[in-house]
């Protein structure tokens, strides 16, 4: 609908520009802070324009980290975060697509029971059952390992639902034709269903990668060796030093580096991201 209301147009843009500024402001200032020296903050007025220490600060953080707060080099933590995020994303997709396939394309005893057991995971976020889950992982000897970081988090009801919904929309004739041509269930899955699901898998991957990368409580609990620290949980250790003001210019460099990978994923795969977000929540 075209309407000529110049004042309202002006107001619309004004609201949006203020909104965008409010959204961008914290990360912008973090970036600015990460390009200055420590002394820039002690003078009382915080700088709002970039300084000239960008390369130096980021090199320190990636290479050595803040040694005084017991934080390892950021390059290592970023690598751990990447391993964890990818394991969680792929793990969730694989086990969910298999179980959705079983639930939609087969009839077998206890099918409903299996569905309900998966459904229940929706209702048990890790935060509310944190201590017993920690105990299970400790008893299995999975503390301080990549398996411990990822496997307990890969059961997912939402991903299973998404694939189930999608499989139900796949025409019946495809499967009947495949069977007439002599394809077994694994062949049908591999050659027909999987290629059809690629867009859904990609959209889900974007969401799950962000989910995995941003995990905080779980790595915080089960990693005590710095070799397994992830970057999102590591930042807290740098920002909370006792007796002294944290080295904000370095902490903010770490914040920018920790926030960047998932933000870039959203920026470059926005269409898939929106598809993933709106479909996993239904």
């Amino acid at each position: 609908m075209v309407e000529n209301r110049p004042f309202l147009d002006f107001l619309t843009h004004a609201v949006l520009i203020i909104g965008v500024a409010f959204i961008a402001f914290p990360l912008y200032l973090a970036f600015i802070a990460s390009t200055h020296e420590q002394t820039a903050f002690t003078s009382g007025i915080i700088p709002v324009l970039p300084g000239d220490q960008l390369v130096k600060n980021y090199t320190i953080m990636l290479g050595t980290g803040i040694s005084t707060s017991g934080a390892p080099p950021l390059a290592m933590m970023l690598q751990n975060s990447l391993i964890m995020a990818l394991s969680i994303a792929f793990g969730k997709i694989i086990i969910s697509i298999l179980s959705a396939y079983a639930i939609v394309y087969f009839r077998f005893p206890f099918r409903m029971a299996a569905f309900w057991i998966i459904f229940i995971t929706l209702m048990l976020p890790v935060e509310v059952r944190i201590i017993p889950t920690f105990k299970v992982v400790a008893d299995l000897g999975m503390l301080n390992s990549y398996a411990g970081l990822s496997i307990p988090l890969i059961a997912s009801a939402t991903a299973t639902f998404l694939f189930r919904q999608f499989f139900l929309t796949v025409p019946e004739e495809l499967m009947e034709a495949a069977r007439v041509d002599g394809a077994g269930p694994l062949r049908f899955f591999k050659d027909i269903l999987l290629p059809l699901s690629i867009t859904n898998i990609a959209a889900l991957f974007v969401i799950l990668f962000i989910y995995g990368w941003n995990q905080y409580v779980w790595p915080l609990l089960i990693t005590t060796k710095i070799e397994y620290y992830t970057v999102v949980m590591g930042i807290k250790r740098m920002a909370a030093v006792s007796d002294a003001e944290p080295q904000w210019h370095l902490v903010m460099a770490a914040v920018v580096l920790a926030a960047l990978p998932p933000v870039l994923v959203v920026a470059f795969m926005q269409r898939l991201f929106i598809k993933g977000l709106t479909e996993t929540e239904k």
């Binding site: 949006l16 909104g19 965008v20 009839r107 995971t121 299970v136 807290k236 914040v255 926005q270 929106i274």
Partner: protein
């Protein structure tokens, strides 16, 4: 529950396909959750030497504990504030983008990225901005005559965590509101405009009622988010303080269990929270079943 009209006849294959998902669910979800329920009926000393079955004593204890009741109150204030603030801002932004024809994609891209920022990082970002000694916002506030120090001032600490948690959630709400607004048929708006309704009137009497299913869905999602997913925001910034002012329920479970080593009480608190999540999930799903389509 529906399957395909014709299915594969294999007997063992479906179980094999389900095994990984079910194994992980049983080991890392069902078993720990049932442990929490069992533990909530026990009293254990901090060293684990003796345990005693005490029925509902842990529950009656937490519900008469002023600290727990305070934590419940704080959680409600926190959840309501985060939900109202982030949904309010998102609706305004979504309505603005919905009016635009050309620039809408640019604005959308610029508004959605905070979804990808971890809650812990959102907390640290705002913690830095509001830092009483070097932050830029206290500096600005001082000029306005407000002395900002969230380390000692309870209300200010609460405002800080509410802003940090809402900031991160805006992009999510925005996308759902925008999708809701864009699904309203243009002909309705045109008909109303011909009848002389201005933009504000159209928004209030047509758009707002028509997106009410989205709004309701988002209210549930935002309450769940602010009750459970905001643990990192609290942990990375105020750690529940000052004087328990930001000690939300999900943070208290962690502190009592891991730091206070009061396992029975922590387990009872876990069970209360699980009941809450189950209630919220049921509400959400019942609503989705009867989703209103206009």
């Amino acid at each position: 529950m529906s399957t395909k009209r014709s299915t594969f006849p294999n007997i063992w294959l479906p179980y094999l396909l389900l095994t990984p998902q079910l194994a992980i669910t049983l080991v890392f979800f069902i078993w720990p959750a049932s442990q929490a329920v069992w533990q909530s009926f026990l009293r254990e000393d901090a060293f684990g030497f003796s345990t005693k079955f005490i029925w509902f004593e842990n529950y009656s204890q937490i519900f008469s504990d002023p600290n727990y009741l305070n934590s419940a109150k704080v959680s409600v204030i926190f959840a309501v504030s985060v939900t109202a603030l982030s949904m309010g801002i998102s609706l305004l932004l979504a309505a603005a983008v919905d009016r635009l024809i050309r620039a809408s994609n640019v604005y959308t891209s610029l508004l959605v990225w905070p979804y990808a920022v971890a809650p812990a990082i959102a907390g640290v970002l705002w913690w830095f901005l509001f830092n009483p000694t070097i932050g830029i916002l206290p500096y600005v506030l001082k000029a306005a005559g407000i002395e900002w120090n969230h380390i000692v001032n309870s209300d200010q600490a609460m405002i800080l965590v509410v802003i940090a948690a809402s900031w991160k959630q805006i992009s999510y709400n925005f996308l759902f509101f925008l999708a809701g607004l864009q699904s309203i048929p243009k002909s309705m708006m045109e008909a109303a405009a011909i009848d002389g309704a201005g933009p504000l009137k159209r928004f209030l009497t047509i758009s707002l009622p028509l997106i009410s299913p989205t709004t309701f869905f988002l209210v549930v999602i935002n309450i769940v988010y602010s009750m459970f997913d905001t643990f990192p925001v609290i942990h990375a910034t105020t750690e529940g303080g000052p004087a328990q002012a930001t000690n939300i329920l999900v943070y208290k479970v962690f502190v009592d269990g891991f730091i206070g080593l009061n396992l029975g009480s922590s387990a009872a608190q876990s069970v209360v929270l699980m009941t809450l999540v189950i209630a919220l999930t049921v509400i959400q799903f019942r609503y989705v079943e009867r989703r209103v389509h206009y």
